[in-house]
Amino acid sequence: MDYPWNFASVFANSDALLVGAIGTLRIFLICLVSGLSLGLFVGLARYSTRRALYIPASAFVEFFRNTPVLVQILWFYFALPMLVPFEISPLMAASLGISLNSAAFSAEIYRGGIQSIDKGQWEGARALGMTTAQAMRRIVLPQALKRMLPAMTNRGIEIFKMSTLASAVSYAEMLQQGKLIASLDYNPIEVYTVIALAFFVFLFPLVQATYALERKLRRSD
């Protein structure tokens, strides 16, 4: 194998890659915030004993956990506009698909985290006169979030990588831009190598930062 590596066209189009990187970051941030916060509400509803909350939340989780994100994105982009009276942009379709999927997965992490907290913590809080909502917000959730951090880190990494699925609806994120560059000189090897490395270079330090956060939170243990 003496393949003549040639990165010239990649570097010549680095501005296009930069546009892609911004697109990737945009999807990542939208889906991280909306997916994990929607997931909290769904997770709380899944934990609830009220059927009016529990049943729709469970249906939501099961539906979005058991259908592929790529299909959801394509559905939101191609099918949903026929049902609603407004345009769906590629960014909207991709963000909807990835956010709802992440909400479904993170809801299960929230629920598991909350359930892992000892019953005595609820009793300690209620014995002081706290309402269920106060006990959840002040006592149970802060401890549960700490335990959930490793699982949530995984979710974050998944969301970041799932952003590439937006290329299926031609949203200008990194993979989409890479495809375009690759088609100029027919050098997919160089382009996809650079893209893979770019993902790694971004994610690796981010994950290290969450390890540091975990260590910091562990101080009270």
Partner: protein, 265 residues
């Protein structure tokens, strides 16, 4: 709201508690007057902890009434199958729980908060007290249980006895009219029991109203003005410590005390 000395602070009538088909409390009647120090004894599974936990509604009574300072808690539901159930709203129960503070066997301190924050938490979140006032009050309570130097420590850095004293300070800070202790020393190493019992004794000397579920019979004898012996979900024998603990009249009380004294020397 305070009650006059001849009116009970707490009045329990025909209290029943069932877990599924298992009836744990089978009709408890009890009057607790201001300043009463009541020790509740009994074998494990007798229902003594459940009785205590019904008073601040950690457990919802299956039937019967609980009255605090003349005010019956909950509203009656239509009678069903001869059982009078009651409905309790969260708002009402949060108020009851502020009046009846509880200290648990397993402390139930909040591990993500320092000792001081454990004590200020209820003041801030429930009583909406300002941060400054809450800290002042919490420091005074930690001082009372002898832990002013541990205010900034997390529970994981405290011994069992220290944790339980923080839990007592946390309950006291809410200024409850009634203090419920649910086996406060049962999870402690023997050498740490004394420091907790001394704090409880000091509270008793302030003529607070206290209900204590315990296995420390010696302490019960010195601490209480009344002793209840619970067996099979009922108050089996009650009276002064001298009556119940020195000269028990009934067989099961005698057997229980004999078992407890088996290895005394």
């Amino acid at each position: 709201m305070t009650s006059t000395p001849n009116e009970p602070l707490l009045r329990i009538r025909d209290l029943h508690k069932q877990f599924g088909h298992n009836e744990v409390l089978k009709g408890i009647d009890l009057d607790v007057f201001p300043g009463d120090r009541i020790a509740i004894l009994g074998a494990s599974g007798s229902g003594k902890s459940t009785l205590l936990r019904c008073i601040n509604f950690m457990e919802t009574p299956s039937s019967g009434t609980i009255e605090i300072a003349g005010q019956t808690i909950g509203t009656a539901l239509p009678e069903r199958l001869g059982k009078q159930e009651r409905r309790y709203t969260e708002t009402e129960l949060t108020r009851v729980r502020q009046r009846a503070g509880m200290v648990f066997q397993q402390f139930n301190l909040f591990p993500h908060m320092s000792a001081l924050d454990n004590v200020t938490e209820g003041l801030r979140t429930v009583q909406k007290m300002s941060r400054e006032d809450a800290i002042l009050k919490a420091r005074a309570q930690l001082d009372r249980v002898g832990l002013s130097d541990k205010a900034s420590e997390y529970p994981s850095r405290l011994s069992g006895g220290q944790k339980q004293r923080v839990a007592i300070a946390r309950a006291l800070a809410m200024e409850p009219e009634l203090l419920l202790f649910d086996e406060p020393t049962s999870a402690l190493d023997p050498e740490l029991v004394g420091e907790v019992l001394r704090v409880i004794r000091a509270l008793a000397q302030e003529s607070r109203t206290i209900l204590l579920v315990t296995h420390e019979i010696g302490f019960a004898y010195h601490f209480a003005n009344r002793v209840l012996f619970i067996a099979d979900g009922q108050i089996y024998e009650s009276g002064t410590p001298a009556e119940v603990l020195k000269n028990p009249r009934k067989k099961r009380t005698q057997d229980f005390l004999a078992r407890h004294n088996e290895f005394n020397f």
